[in-house]
Symmetry: C2
Subunit: 251 residues, 2 copies
């Protein structure tokens, strides 16, 4: 896949960037989409970073986030929600980051504040393709991430918090799963996001009460235990509930 961006009649703004925290789920754990910046010549430091880059002066922040995500990973047309703005003056304190910026930016020393966005996507439908200064782009389990470029680790934590909040008031987690899924997979997803165990029976009861699932007549095959029923969303109710939200999904 290649990206042909219509020529943008505007300059990069050296002071404002966007970064994207794209969450996925591999049926085991929560993952996030990172780019690999490759070996940085002389300096040690984390190679991985959130996909992000400077904005253009004539695009709004949401558009910039989508463009940058597309340019670096090939994912496009994704609804992104803002996490917030980050940008301590010492945000670029790692030598490796400084050096890397010199290789890709016109004004590597400029003060940059970055606006972070996040969202959730069904991993299996999005195959990231690295390009531009991303040497590679791939899903990484959130719990395995120990450090990232710049202040991206901090941004990731903030995004995780937002996600925890959001999952309590909207049925967002659902579209991280394959089209047909089991309640146990959904259960594991909620536990991954909230980072704590949830009672199986209580969880199932609550979820079913939301009335957004249709159980299929189909079962898992080939598993060495009692096969689970498969479910899918009731698209209509799901949309409705996404709009209205629920005040109290008190996990």
């Amino acid at each position: 896949m290649q990206h042909i961006h219509k020529k943008i009649n505007s300059e990069l703004n050296p002071n404002v960037s966007v970064d994207c925290v794209i969450f996925g789920f591999d049926l085991e754990q929560l993952t996030v989409l990172l780019i690999d910046r490759g070996e940085i010549s002389s300096a040690f430091g984390p190679r991985m970073a959130l996909p992000g880059n400077l904005i253009y002066d004539n695009e709004n922040l949401d558009m910039a986030a989508n463009r940058v995500l597309d340019e670096l990973t090939g994912l496009n047309n994704i609804y992104l929600e803002q996490v917030g703005a980050f940008g301590d003056p010492d945000r670029i304190h790692k030598e490796s980051d400084r050096e890397w910026l010199k290789s890709i930016r016109a004004e590597p020393e400029a003060r940059v504040i970055t606006v972070a966005y996040f969202t959730l996507v069904p991993m299996q439908q999005y195959k990231p393709q690295a390009s531009s200064f991303a040497k590679n782009a791939d899903w990484v389990p959130v719990n395995e991430i120990k450090e990232l470029a710049f202040d991206h680790f901090e941004i990731l934590q903030a995004a995780k918090e937002k996600l925890k909040q959001k999952i309590k008031i909207q049925p967002i987690g659902f579209n991280l799963l394959p089209e047909k899924f089991t309640l146990s997979q959904l259960h594991r997803l909620y536990e991954s996001i909230l980072d704590k165990p949830l009672d199986k029976r209580n969880f199932r009861r609550k979820i079913q009460k939301l009335d957004i699932l249709s159980s299929l007549r189909e079962k898992q095959r080939g598993v060495p235990h009692k096969p689970s029923l498969l479910y899918e969303f009731n698209e209509e109710k799901y949309q409705e509930l996404t709009q209205t939200g629920f005040d109290n999904f008190g996990f």
Copy 2:
């Protein structure tokens, strides 16, 4: 659009500003602190704006918000919480705003993204004093505000939403009141923020269960009806609850 980006660390950054949404309560309704920019020479448009200005390259965003608030209104040392980043390229579309910027900025045409902050303060303890480019600074009832400079009206709406969310999980609303207050005043405050009526008895029950109020032996005087008992906070419990929050103050 041009960028004159200085590498010197103590310069104003032409592309990033902060704006502050400071909420107060006048015992009747929610208010917000605005500055009056005065008559703008030839153009019509709103005179009022949120206190805000460009950041310096060597200060972090939180510090910038505090500094700007102090410079424009004299309020200082206030805990501010981020609302988010705003900054469509067409954010400066009113002629009056454009003209005003020419009078106060070195690069009035620069693309600016702004980071909004909000907080709540006890009005009676903070007497705003306008200075710098603010001709006046004063509390204005939120419901009376119909338009503001730039995209400040939109920012105000976003801050109100944040406030609604926050009041459901933390006892923030309390410190908008005078030191001694009645439960009815607190009740009215919650209704103002949530913008809907709350049952009197249920409200009182819930609030009291939080166990952060001490009832004084003192009563209102001079009111033409049964005088109310006065309350104050239990400072210790209040702090504790502010830390931990409550998952479920389900109004």
